[in-house]
Symmetry: C2
Subunit: 126 residues, 2 copies
Amino acid sequence: MKFDALVSGHHIVMDALPEVGGNNSGPRPKELMLASLAGCTGMDVISILKKMRVEIETFNINVKADVTEEHPKHYTSMHLVYEFRGKELDPEKLKKAVELSQDKYCGVSAVYRKAMPVTYEIKISE
Amino acid sequence: MKFDALVSGHHIVMDALPEVGGNNSGPRPKELMLASLAGCTGMDVISILKKMRVEIETFNINVKADVTEEHPKHYTSMHLVYEFRGKELDPEKLKKAVELSQDKYCGVSAVYRKAMPVTYEIKISE
């Protein structure tokens, strides 16, 4: 059940859990959909904030998704939590950066939104 | 631009290309959508063929996708090429396994199909 995906010269290992015949030597393929979304919008946000000259100390994105119980077991909604940490961060600029990614730039989000609701929230701390 | 995704305990690194400020230390996030699809349907097919007692020597899946030139740059179609190699493989059984994955089991394909056409072909060699 272990698959090695060659993606632009990089190897990404995927595997199933032991209970379905795998060895858990990599994430489940479906879960990569969530990493793809987080990486896509994350890079957008960092690029936009750089242009806005906003400096953040740490940036983390959590993605949660609902999945059906019946086959094909697929995601029916996703929710992103953007977590920013830094000094005197302007909430409006962070919101603007996230909105620009979600509404204009993130191609992964654009596809997923055709299939399900993709929502988000922003958390800011010092 | 480098992001480290923690997915069920496994680290997946994504990065942008140097021309957009990255170091290419991992694949682009959007491309992970294709790895996700290949891994999902690949595991289905292997599981189904095992139940059918079909033994294959090598199994490879190539995924190609069309992407828009305008923002948000997103995939508009995907095409999978399933490549099987083995002795005296029954084309009907291979076709059945792929169909079962695409029509019934693969949750990644189920989502992508809501957003774009997902097509496939099967290649068999000894």
